[in-house]
Amino acid sequence: MSLRASVIHRACCQSAARLRARDRTVKFPQSISRHHELKTVPTLSFSKLGCSRGGRQLFQNIDCVLESGHWLYVAGANGVGKTSLLRMVCGLAPIESGEIFWNGTPIHAQADAYRQDLCYLGHLNALQESMTVHENLAFTAALGGMAPDAAQTQSVLAHFGVAGRERQLVRHLSQGQKRRVALSRLALSQARLWVLDEPFVAMDEAGVRMLADLIAAHLTQGGLAVLTSHQQVDIGAIPAQLLELRA
């Protein structure tokens, strides 16, 4: 699993259904389902989802089904509502029209259970500057009701190339290092659904590859991911479901 050339990526994108928000309703073909042996396959789906900001309609009538082991690549220019969509998926922003389902049930009807399955990484790193890396990671894990042991934190940080920084204050890290620490939360979380808003920003090439590998491993284990990115990214050999938002 590694970062492929953008050529392959383009091929993947072409194979995925292109969706034009606003005027059409397209269902994604569900070609591969490796998890049919499971009784309940974790599924995220949108139905007739719409959003407006400041009186302007950003998108409407978005339909999409994302199954276990797949990732949704939300693409589009600045200001078309990618972040708004992701925040709606998390339940941070209210759903204006339409519905988002997790395992067939609307997310607001099962908020607590849904949040257990969800890990969100936004534009902000959610790191407290005057706490150490370890304290930050332990705290976010505690919010999810988990207590990672020191060895686990160390190995995750080592995977992200910030080994030996556990006792360092976050404010002494560089921008890219902070992002890596924030991303290592993903590896410590038990969530099935990862919602990542521009996860590759401020990362160097090695960092991008590490994150892509991490997402690929998560998908192989039956997880789901929804992400936005302006960079061309490939998650292992797993083709993207493309959701292109247009103004």
Binding site: E135, F139, M146, A147
Partner: protein
């Protein structure tokens, strides 16, 4: 990876708040110094007449405590909002209301409790006797957690708003009036021989009410601020 109970999660929030405050000692000390300065200005302003000072001591100390407690409220959610931690709290599987309760409790421990401990020293300045000082401490101990809880609603409502400090005072100070009346009233009622049981019961009732309702209101306000 161990699973944590709800109690340990709340303890983790509390420990984080306290350790953060201890790293930025100024934030704990500022309200306390403010309290001392405000309470000391009154004798300078109204003159050294001991009967008058004694009469107004409970009220002055309570108003000073109220203003001091408000000084640190604005920061209750502001840093977590700015760095994105608040989003993670809102998305965590732990109910947000309980996290808010833990944050309000930490605010009481860091800003209310020091005021309770400092109050008798200032009370001496006004010539309060031992019994009055004891009652003053008791009313502050019952009242300052209520101030933190009610204040958390205002802190959540004014998140990300420009000029949040002033707006927060305007929103919250009227809500503090009942606590002020019964808190300062208890000392006077006891001095007048009326007994302070009623006042203390009402303060405790206000505390119980705010423990129940304030986290609900704060949670709603936080979710709106995060939209």
């Amino acid at each position: 990876m161990k699973k944590l109970g709800l109690g340990s999660v709340l303890l983790a929030v509390l420990r984080r708040e306290v350790s953060l405050a201890l790293r930025q000692k100024g934030e704990v000390l500022t309200p306390l110094v403010f309290f001392v300065v405000i309470a000391s200005l009154f004798p300078l302003g109204v003159g050294p007449e001991s009967a008058l000072l004694l009469r107004m001591a409970p009220g002055v100390l309570w108003v000073s405590a109220l203003l001091a407690a408000m000084l640190s409220l604005q920061r209750l959610f502001a840093t977590d909002y700015a760095d994105g931690s608040l989003e993670q709290m809102a998305l965590s599987s732990t109910p947000l209301g309980l996290l808010v309760l833990a944050k309000a409790l930490s605010h009481f421990l860091l800003s209310g409790l020091p005021l309770v401990l400092m109050a008798p020293v200032l009370g001496l300045q006004f010539g309060l006797d031992g019994r009055a000082l004891g009652i003053l401490m008791l009313t502050l101990l019952l009242g300052t957690p209520t101030l933190s809880l009610i204040g958390s609603i205002g802190a959540a409502l004014t998140l990300g708003v420009r000029g949040a400090g002033v707006l927060l005072s305007l929103l919250i100070l009227p809500l503090y009036i009942p606590v002020l009346i019964f808190g300062a009233g208890a000392v006077e009622a006891d001095a007048a021989g009326l007994g302070m049981g009623g006042h203390l019961s009402l303060l405790a009732a206000l505390l119980v009410l705010s423990i129940f309702f304030a986290p609900l209101a704060t949670t709603t306000a936080l979710r709106i601020s995060l939209e």
